[in-house]
């Protein structure tokens, strides 16, 4: 630990009270997990206050005090919880020893303007804590699903074994169920088939529509745009009801008159319906990128003898690609997440993941849904990270950013 900066020393009572409050909150969590909140609260507060008192009052050597706290808390964690307690204790030790001296030695003022009043300093940090809480509020529903998906029981419940970090409370059986259960596998395959194809259809049609609408000679532009993006505005259940009847007739025609296979027609129906939902996103994002598009470039290309198709692929497409890709991403997610329309338009053969999750949640609360949710979250994160890396790489290659 590098030589720390001492701004000034706070009175012990301030440090010890603050640390006591922190200890109380942590104790409360452990107390609730083990059956009694108040005992945990009081015990945690006293425990942390005692540690801070010993560390600040008795010790003149900060490094020694901090190491001792870490080692002590690690051992306490190991004694009471086990191997995972070792890790938890270490984390708590690292944090609390840093926090203790941060408070005690007034280090929190180090990066702030010296003329700020105590109230302003407090607000400076309160503001950050509030932001952190809002962030937590947004992310917790997603995070809480992940440990639950490793539940050894068939309920959405944190069992006492799980809270004690007992390995017996955890299992991979819900993941196993997902990978071995026919219904889940079929719906996963369906999703992987329907979403990409629907994305390709909506990206192609949406991009063409956006380019057409950006031409100056197109009449009734606003009216046409409004109609094209209406699937995004009309409540989904209304679109779905309309689509159900429309595609039933289309399907009957394709099967009976054209003589196509029933299953194939089923997929075509769902893909078309999902494309309609995805097109507005593509139109909006591509239109937005086209606003900054310099039309003299296409004229220059034409001047040099390129036909419109070549101009489109060589000149226009590379420049509006970011809009096309993000529109495609939205279209993909729309189709991949969609449950209402597919339940109306599809038959059991076209059951997608969200459909399976929906019925699973209604008819049997099984943590397999959570396992699937976790897998999907991981896939989405991987997808977004890959896209972002690719985008940065291409920017670097094209020299658009100094990075």
């Amino acid at each position: 630990m590098s030589e720390p900066k001492v701004i000034y020393s706070n009175p012990f009572i301030f440090t010890i009270t603050s640390m006591g409050i922190m200890g109380g909150l942590i104790g409360l969590i452990f107390g609730v997990a083990n059956g009694s909140g108040p005992i945990g609260l009081i015990f945690g507060a006293l425990f942390m206050a005692l540690i801070s008192f010993l560390a600040t009052f008795l010790s003149k050597n900060e490094s020694l005090a901090r190491y001792s706290i870490c080692v002590f808390l690690t051992l306490v964690g190991f004694y009471f919880i086990g191997v995972i307690g070792l890790f938890l204790g270490l984390m708590l030790g690292l944090f609390s020893s840093w926090f203790l001296f941060w408070l005690h030695l007034g280090r929190y003022r180090a990066k702030l303007q010296p003329y700020l009043s105590p109230g302003q300093v407090l607000w400076h940090y309160t503001f950050r804590v509030i932001c952190g809480i809002i962030f937590l509020f947004l992310i917790t529903p997603i995070l809480v699903v992940m440990p639950l998906s490793f539940n050894a029981q068939d309920f959405f419940t944190f069992t006492p074994e799980m809270l004690r970090f007992d390995p017996d409370g955890y299992s991979l059986k819900h993941y196993r169920d997902f990978f071995t259960n026919n219904e889940w596998q079929r719906s996963f395959k369906n999703s992987l088939l329907i979403a990409p194809v629907a994305t390709i259809v909506s990206v192609s049609l949406g991009t063409l529509a956006a380019i057409g609408l950006s031409q100056s000679h197109v009449p009734f532009k606003r009216a046409i745009t409004a109609v094209l993006i209406s699937p995004m505005i009309v409540p989904l259940i209304i679109s779905a009801t309309g689509m159900f009847f429309f595609y039933s007739h289309v399907g009957n025609f394709l099967e009976d008159t054209v003589g196509l296979d029933k299953n194939f027609v089923g997929y075509v129906k769902v893909i078309l319906a999902h494309s309609v939902l995805g097109i507005p996103f593509v139109i909006i994002t591509v239109t937005a990128t086209l606003v900054g598009f310099d039309n003299s470039l296409t004229r220059a290309a034409a001047n040099m003898g390129a036909d419109p198709v070549k101009t489109f692929f060589k000149i226009q497409m590379p420049l509006i690609l970011p809009g096309v890709i993000s529109g495609g991403l939205f279209a993909f997610i729309t189709s991949f997440d969609e449950v209402v329309v597919v339940m109306f338009v599809g038959s059991t053969n076209q059951k997608t993941l969200p459909w399976q999750m929906f019925t699973g949640l209604r008819e049997q609360i099984s943590p397999t849904i959570l396992a699937v949710a976790t897998i999907l979250v991981v896939i989405s994160i991987a997808l977004l990270v890959t896209l972002e890396l690719l985008r940065r790489r291409s920017e670097r290659l094209r020299g658009l950013s100094p990075g």
């Binding site: 029981q153 068939d154 309920f155 959405f156 419940t157 219904e183 395959k189 088939l193 990409p196 194809v197 390709i200 990206v203 159900f244 009847f245 039933s248 007739h249 399907g251 009957n252 296979d261 029933k262 299953n263 194939f264 089923g266 997929y267 692929f313 060589k314 497409m317 590379p318 690609l321 038959s347 059991t348 053969n349 059951k351 019925t359 699973g360 209604r362 008819e363 049997q364 609360i365 099984s366």
Partner: protein, 368 residues
């Protein structure tokens, strides 16, 4: 440009694979609609797997029974019926039959006779409540309670639900009038035989709701059979209503500290219907499946996986042990004599007539 080529190749590959994927699953398949969860699983193991092995037909499961009536109406409207066999309760089956959405069944020619030659109409007996309904199981809706949260005197009477003094804490009930109103009147002192007469009157309905008013603040309203097991497992309710098979699974398979009350449980039937208007070949396949899946042995087999009583008289002696747990299943059946003694039989005809009115009234009361 590379990007374009990639997109085009992916698109065509996806389309071709899509077509190939779709072509792989040709006509030898049927869609069977049921309730999902442990119940569908018992049907899968007792009926679907042996039937597929015997005939080579692929069976697709659709867990949509809870919305079957509305969906069948819409499918009929759009002339696009995608289901072959549908699992529904007795009352919706009567409704579908009245509306002409289900096919009429002649038990003696379309269903298998008992092994001793008794015709199906006699073997099923009173269970054949509608011309379209092919009975499968008898189930009951009853209460489970947390053995560790109800104090020293565990409840043995359905009216414990209304006794918030002895059993303080939350209880879960279904947010529908069926069952809840019968229980309210039963615990308000109406004799079992008179409940439906009382419930047919305006005063009787108000009386049932007034009784429910006394516990309204202590009730968590649920809408699906899986909610109460989850609430009991969490300890969020001390007792709650659900189907006896779900409670069996909660107690015996999940080993939760829960027990059930075999008193005043409402008995109901569940079975198959075949949608009207299928093409002749699909109808023939559906009938072939039904003939197989409702014979004496198959109905008894289902009881190996879930604690619902087979609807055939001839299946009862064949009920054996649970396939995975090795527990003797007969005492867990709603049809077992000791469980049956204090049961309450639902009047399907009453609900077929009064359901819409009472539903509206009950929902209005709930919203108050």
């Amino acid at each position: 440009m590379n990007f374009t080529k990639t997109i085009m190749t992916t698109a065509s590959a996806a389309l071709i694979s899509g077509a190939a994927f779709a072509d792989g699953h040709m006509s030898m398949e049927m869609t069977i609609v049921s309730w999902g969860g442990a119940y569908s699983n018992s049907q899968l193991r007792a009926y679907h797997e042996p039937y597929s092995a015997k005939t080579g037909v692929t069976i697709l499961n659709d867990d949509s029974s809870s919305t079957a009536v509305a969906q069948l109406r819409a499918m009929n409207e759009a002339n696009n019926i995608t289901w072959d066999v549908v699992d529904v309760e007795a009352a919706p089956a009567m409704q579908l039959c009245d509306e002409g959405l289900a096919m009429e069944i002649d038990p003696d020619t379309m269903l298998a006779a008992a092994p001793d030659g008794t015709p199906a109409s006699e073997d099923f007996g009173d269970m054949l409540v509608s011309e379209c309904f092919i009975p499968q199981i008898v189930y009951s809706t009853t209460f489970g309670y947390r053995t560790d949260l109800v104090g020293d005197t565990p409840p043995d009477n359905v009216c414990a639900v209304f006794d918030t003094k002895t059993y303080p804490g939350k209880r879960s009930l279904f947010s529908v009038p069926i069952n809840q109103m019968e229980w309210a009147l039963l615990c308000d002192g109406v004799a079992k035989s008179e409940i439906y007469d009382v419930l047919a009157t305006e005063e009787g309905q108000d009386r049932a709701l007034a009784k429910l008013d006394t516990i309204k603040d202590d009730v968590i309203w649920v809408s699906s059979g899986s909610d109460t097991p989850q609430l009991l497992a969490d300890g969020e309710v001390i007792m709650g209503a659900t189907y006896n098979g779900r409670l069996f699974s909660l107690i015996e398979e999940q080993k939760q500290p829960v027990a059930m009350i075999w008193d005043g449980q409402v008995m109901d039937l569940d079975g198959w219907i075949i949608p009207a208007g299928l093409s002749p070949e699909r109808q023939a396949r559906a009938l072939d499946y039904i003939m197989f899946a409702t014979d004496t042995q198959r109905l008894a087999d289902q009881a190996k996986y879930i604690s619902y009583g087979p609807a055939r008289a001839s299946s009862a002696p064949l009920v054996g042990k649970h396939a995975d747990l090795g527990i003797d299943m007969a005492p867990h059946m709603p049809t077992a004599p000791e469980n049956l003694s204090r049961a309450f039989l639902m009047n399907y005809d009453f609900w077929a007539d009064y359901r819409d009115d009472l539903d509206a009234k009950f929902q209005a009361w709930l919203a108050k």
